[in-house]
C-alpha cells in the first residue's frame, strides 16, 4: 500500500471521483468530496476509504448500479451517489 500511494503522489495525477472509474480500474483515495456530510465521510472512512488506501473497481451490477469495490482487503458495494463523493487518483493501466 505504501509503495502504490507513493507512486500516486509522485505522479500527482489528476483527481477524479471514484464513480468515474471503469471496472478493472485501480486508484488511490485522496479523500471525500467537500459536499459529503460528516456522517457519510466518517462511514466511508470506517469502511476503509481512507486517504492513501488503494481501491480496485471489481464490477458493476447488471442494472448499472451499485458497484463492487475492493478496499483494505474487503469487497463491498457502493451506489453511484456515494462513489461520486470519493476523490481518487487513478493509476495508469
Amino acid at each position: 500500500m505504501a509503495t502504490s500511494s507513493q507512486r500516486a503522489h509522485d505522479q500527482s495525477g489528476s483527481v477524479v471521483v471514484l464513480a468515474q472509474l471503469p471496472p478493472g480500474g485501480r486508484a488511490t483515495v485522496v479523500g471525500t468530496a467537500p459536499q459529503a456530510t460528516s456522517a457519510l465521510a466518517s462511514r466511508l472512512n470506517q469502511l476503509g476509504f481512507r486517504p492513501k488506501a488503494q481501491v480496485d473497481v471489481i464490477r458493476r451490477a447488471p442494472l448499472g448500479d451499485p458497484t463492487i469495490y475492493r478496499v483494505q482487503d474487503t469487497e463491498l458495494c457502493l451506489r453511484r451517489r456515494e462513489a461520486q463523493l470519493i476523490e481518487v487518483v487513478p493509476e495508469p493501466g
Binding site: S42, R43, L47, I58, P62, D73, L76, C77, L78, E82
Partner: protein, 637 residues
C-alpha cells in the same frame, strides 16, 4: 440459564453475575462465536427504546456462570446511526438501565485486520479488561497472509486468541479464560484517540505482529464471475428466488396441513367427550383453533430462517441484494429488503421477521409496515371465493381465463402498492437516512450447520413466545365474540348449519357487526359481511368459513352458492358485482391479520408501528374500495 430473565425490558441478568460483551464489526464471525459459547440458550429481545435486537446468553466456566452479550456489529465507536449508538452507550455505561459490562471480548476477522484495527484501538481506550479473538485464521493462511498471534498480543498488551468460529475450534480456550478477566493482561499505554494517530498506531501494531494481508479469494472471484454475470447472474438469481419461494410456499404446506389435521382430530375428540357446550366450544374451537393458528406458522418460519441462514452464511444473500439494489432503490429501500418483500408473498410474518438482516432501523420499519400489502397466501382463499362470485370460470377476457386475469391483477396490485407505500413511507415519516447504502460481499464460505440451526431455533422460539401469546389471546377473544352468548334454547331442533348461523347472527360479534355497519355501508357490506371481516382478523382465510357459517351454507368452507343468493334485511342481493369488487380491494389493502400485528409489535418493540400500519392500511383499503365500488356502479356493473 437460571440467571436469565425475559430481556424485553432490558433487565437481563441478576446482579452479581459476571458480564462479558462481544464487540466486533459486521461479518467478523461474532455471532458464530456467540453461538458456540452459549449454545442454543441465548435470550433474545430488544434494547429498550430502539428497534435493535439484543442477544444475551450464559456460558459456564468451571461451574461459574458468565453472561455473554452479543452486541450489534459496528465499524467504530463513533456512532453514526442510532443502532450503532447502542454499542457505544453500552460500553461507556451511558445506556439507561443497563450496566457497563465487566469485560470485552473483541472479535476481529484476521483477513480484514487492516480495517478493524481502528475499532480495536477504540475499544482498548475504554480501559475495560479486553481480550482479542481472531477469526478466519485458516482463511488468512490459505490466501497467503500471515500473522504472529504472540507478537500481536505483545504489541497490543492484551491476550489474543485464535479461533475458527466455523468449526468451533479454539472456543474452549476462549471459554476457559472468560471468568478470569481480572487477570487479563492490560495495555501499559492506551492507543491514541486522534484519528491520524490511531491509524499510525494500528500500522505499527500490525507491523510488529508481522501481519501480511491475504490475497483476494480466487474461488470467490471465479464464482462471482458467474453469479454476478449480467445475464447468467440474473438468470441464476431468478432461479434461486423461485426455488426459495417455492420451498416456502409449497414445502411448508404439507407440514402445515399435517398440523391442521392433527388439531382437527384433537378438536373432534374433545367435542365427543365433553358435554358442556361452552367448555366444548371453547376447548375444541377457541383454544385448539387458536393454538392451531400459531402452530401453522411454525413450518414456514422455520423453513424461511433455515433458507435465509443458508443463503446468508454461504454468501449469496449479499450477492442477491447487490443484483436487486437498483430495483429496490426506486422505493427508497435497499437490496436486502427484497428478500423480506418476497417472503411476504408467502406470509407477512416470516417476511417481517426477515427484515432483521437490514442494518438500518428506518429501512427495517419501512419494510415491516409495507410488507403486509404483498399478496400473502391467506388472501388466496378469500380472492378465490370473491372471484367466483364475480366472474364464472368460463368467462374469457382477451382469450384468457377471466378468473386467472383477476387473480393476477390482485397479486400485481398488492405488490405495486407495497412498493409505492414503501416509497411514500421512506420519503415522509421515515425520511432522512443518515447512512449511505454500503454492503460487504464476504467470500463464499460453507455454512456451519450449527449457525443455521441456531438461526432457525431462535426465530421459532421468539415467534412462539412473543407473538404466539398475542395470537392465541386474540383468537380466543374472537371465538368468544362469534359464539357467545349460548343459544341452546333457541337452536333446539335446528339443523347444525342453521343453529351455527343462528348463534353467530345473535352473537356479540353480530352486535359489533351491526355497530360498525355504518362504517362499511358505503362499501356495500351488510352487517353479516362485517361479522366475517371481524372473524378474518384471526387469519384472513377465516373470512370464507365465517361467511359460510353466517349464511348457513350447507358446506361452510365453500359458501359460493349460498352467498350468490344471500339477501339483506330489505331483500336486496348482498354480493352484487360492485360490492364484491369493493371487498376484493378492501382485502388487497387492509391489515386484516392480528398475527401480523403481533409480530410487528414484537419486531419493532412498540405498539406505535403496528397501530400506524393498521390505520393507514384501513384508510387506504376503505378509500380504494369506495372508489372502486363507485366506479363499478358508475359503469353499470
Amino acid at each position: 440459564m437460571t440467571a436469565c430473565h425475559d430481556v424485553d425490558a432490558g433487565a437481563v441478568t441478576v446482579a452479581g453475575i459476571r458480564r462479558v460483551a462481544l464487540v466486533g464489526s459486521p461479518n467478523a464471525g461474532k455471532t458464530s462465536v456467540f453461538n458456540h459459547l452459549t449454545g442454543l440458550r441465548a435470550k433474545t429481545g430488544n434494547y429498550p427504546g430502539v428497534t435493535v435486537g439484543r442477544s444475551v446468553g450464559t456460558t459456564s466456566v468451571d461451574g461459574v456462570a458468565v453472561a455473554v452479550e452479543d452486541l450489534p456489529g459496528t465499524y467504530s465507536l463513533d456512532p453514526i446511526s442510532p443502532d450503532e449508538r447502542v454499542v457505544t452507550d453500552l460500553l461507556t455505561g451511558k445506556y439507561p438501565d443497563i450496566d457497563r459490562p465487566d469485560a470485552v471480548v473483541l472479535i476481529a476477522d484476521s483477513t480484514t485486520l487492516r480495517r478493524s484495527i481502528t475499532l480495536i484501538g477504540q475499544v482498548l481506550r475504554l480501559d475495560l479488561p479486553c481480550l482479542l479473538t481472531l477469526t478466519m485464521g485458516d482463511e488468512l493462511t490459505s490466501r497467503g497472509g500471515r500473522i504472529d498471534v504472540e507478537a500481536l498480543s505483545t504489541a497490543l498488551g492484551v491476550p489474543v486468541l485464535a479461533v475458527v468460529g466455523h468449526h468451533g475450534s479454539g472456543i474452549n480456550g476462549l471459554r476457559a479464560r472468560l471468568a478470569s478477566f481480572d487477570q487479563w493482561q492490560r495495555p501499559p499505554i492506551l492507543p491514541p484517540s486522534d484519528q491520524q494517530a490511531i491509524d499510525a498506531w494500528g500500522q505499527s501494531v500490525l507491523d510488529a505482529a508481522d501481519y501480511v494481508a491475504p490475497q483476494p479469494d480466487q474461488r470467490t472471484r471465479r464464482i462471482d464471475r458467474v453469479l454476478l454475470h449480467p445475464l447468467w447472474g440474473t438468470v441464476i438469481f431468478f432461479a434461486v428466488m423461485f426455488w426459495f419461494f417455492q420451498v416456502l410456499f409449497t414445502a411448508a404446506a404439507p407440514l402445515r396441513d399435517g398440523i391442521a389435521r392433527g388439531l382437527t382430530y384433537l378438536g373432534t375428540q374433545v367435542a365427543e367427550h365433553i358435554g358442556n357446550p361452552i367448555i366444548r366450544g371453547l376447548l375444541s374451537q377457541g383454544i385448539i383453533g387458536g393454538v392451531g393458528t400459531v402452530l401453522q406458522f411454525i413450518p414456514q418460519i422455520v423453513l424461511l430462517f433455515l433458507l435465509l441462514a443458508f443463503l446468508e452464511n454461504i454468501g449469496y444473500m449479499s450477492r442477491a441484494a447487490f443484483l436487486m439494489d437498483r430495483v429496490m432503490a426506486m422505493t427508497g429501500l435497499e437490496g436486502r429488503a427484497f428478500v423480506a418483500m418476497l417472503s411476504s408473498v408467502a406470509c407477512a410474518i416470516p417476511g417481517i421477521m426477515a427484515t432483521r438482516t437490514l442494518p438500518s432501523s428506518r429501512d427495517r420499519i419501512a419494510t415491516i409496515v409495507t410488507a403486509p400489502l404483498m399478496t400473502c397466501s391467506a388472501r388466496l382463499p378469500v380472492y378465490t371465493l370473491l372471484i367466483g362470485l364475480l366472474v364464472t370460470s368460463q368467462t374469457r377476457w382477451w382469450g384468457l381465463s377471466a378468473q386467472g386475469v383477476t387473480m393476477f391483477l390482485l397479486y400485481l396490485g398488492g405488490g405495486m402498492s407495497a412498493l409505492i407505500a414503501a416509497l411514500l413511507v421512506k420519503s415522509t415519516v421515515l425520511r432522512g437516512d443518515l447512512l449511505p447504502f454500503t454492503m460487504e460481499l464476504p467470500p463464499y464460505r460453507l455454512p456451519s450447520p450449527q449457525a443455521m440451526l441456531a438461526a432457525m431455533w431462535s426465530a421459532a422460539k421468539v415467534f412462539l413466545r412473543k407473538a404466539g401469546t398475542i395470537i392465541l389471546a386474540t383468537s380466543l377473544v374472537l371465538w368468544a365474540l362469534l359464539n357467545l352468548p349460548v343459544r341452546e334454547e333457541e337452536t333446539r331442533g335446528l339443523s347444525s348449519t342453521d343453529s351455527t348461523a343462528y348463534v353467530m347472527n345473535h352473537s356479540y360479534a353480530a352486535d359489533v357487526g351491526k355497530a360498525i355497519a355504518p362504517v362499511f355501508t358505503p362499501l356495500g357490506f351488510d352487517w353479516r359481511t362485517d361479522v366475517a371481516l371481524l372473524g378474518s382478523l384471526s387469519a384472513r382465510e377465516v373470512f370464507v368459513s365465517t361467511l359460510g357459517q353466517v349464511s348457513a351454507a350447507t358446506d361452510p368452507d365453500h359458501p359460493r352458492q349460498a352467498l350468490t343468493t344471500m339477501t339483506d334485511d330489505h331483500g336486496q342481493r348482498v354480493f352484487t358485482a360492485p360490492t364484491v369488487i369493493a371487498l376484493m380491494i378492501y382485502f388487497m389493502f387492509a391489515l386484516q391479520c392480528m398475527s401480523t400485528i403481533a409480530v410487528m409489535r414484537r419486531e419493532t418493540n412498540s405498539w406505535r408501528w403496528p397501530a400506524f400500519a393498521f390505520s393507514y392500511m384501513f384508510v387506504l383499503a376503505w378509500v380504494m374500495a369506495f372508489a372502486a365500488r363507485t366506479i363499478a356502479v358508475g359503469l353499470g356493473a
